[in-house]
Symmetry: C2
Subunit: 143 residues, 2 copies
DNA sequence: ATTTAAATTTGTAATGATTACAAACAGAGA
DNA sequence: TCTCTGTTTGTAATCATTACAAATTTAAAT
């Protein structure tokens, strides 16, 4: 999980382009996601940012993620049994969740551009493909 | 959501075939799922069965679903943001969740038998394809 | 049938993620 | 500076799920 350095300015522009007023907290949350690329939970974000923003509230993370989700900057992943995870919206791809360590990995889309707008008369807004199992690193440790 | 009548005996045999001791509560839970085909939450099952089994405990539903899941009789669906839903394991198919009413519909598999055993070195145990949007019935009501 | 052991069910308390809500705060304009 | 609006914060409430131990049921053995 290497960190890609990303400037505040870049994140700020990104938020403005999506119609989100770029507050310090919002920039921090999105910057974290863009750099870590780790499909974080609310708590992963909170635990990391609280070291830099001592006054940060968990509620702000919830508010921010809900807003960014509504503005289609990030997607919420219903892949874990216990908590929502979030992902910056970029090229289409699928996800693999390790049931052992909880890490989520990007994987190539398992099927070609499957984005029907309608199924059986229902309006389709999104389709997510979730694989689950044991990641290579955890399998190695199990020997 | 029409109820297919299913005999106790049928459910009992099904459980035994999967190595699950067919207690009254377990039969009741699985019979409910087979008849309703509604991908229920714990609470949906509980609210229905409590009318027939006044002593029923929610914990029993949790225990039963966990056991049936382990024995591969049912699958747990991470599709709702708020609660786990469960589905009897039969022919491969995908799911559509209505974000308005919360109903889950079976849909034809969006892609052909996509069950890789390995992706990027990770062991894959299961793949779920989840569509979300607004169901036809809810859309009609929104006019 | 009685006794015993094991498995199942039940009820209550704890945990943990998320939401509700109102007070505190910050920034933009007049 | 004052005011208005939007943002952030902290606390309390809610809700799904799990932990756990007591009570009950079942099956086996005598």
């Amino acid at each position: 999980m290497k960190n890609s350095p990303i400037s505040i300015e870049t994140v700020k522009n990104l938020l403005e382009a999506k119609g989100v007023k770029p507050s310090f907290q919002r920039i921090s949350v999105l910057k974290y996601m863009l750099q870590k690329k780790n499909h974080p939970s609310v708590d992963m974000i909170y635990q990391n940012l609280i070291t830099q923003i001592p006054t940060l509230s968990r509620t702000t993370i919830y508010n921010t993620l809900k807003l960014l989700n509504k503005k289609r900057v990030i997607a919420s992943l219903s892949i874990s049994d216990t908590e929502l995870r979030y992902d910056y919206i970029s090229d289409p791809h699928d996800h693999f969740l390790c049931k052992q360590c909880g890490q989520i990995f990007d994987i190539d889309a398992l099927t070609e551009a499957m984005e029907p707008k309608e199924i059986n008369g229902h309006d389709v807004h999104e389709v997510q493909v979730n694989a689950k199992g044991i990641c290579s690193s955890c399998r190695a440790k199990m020997n």
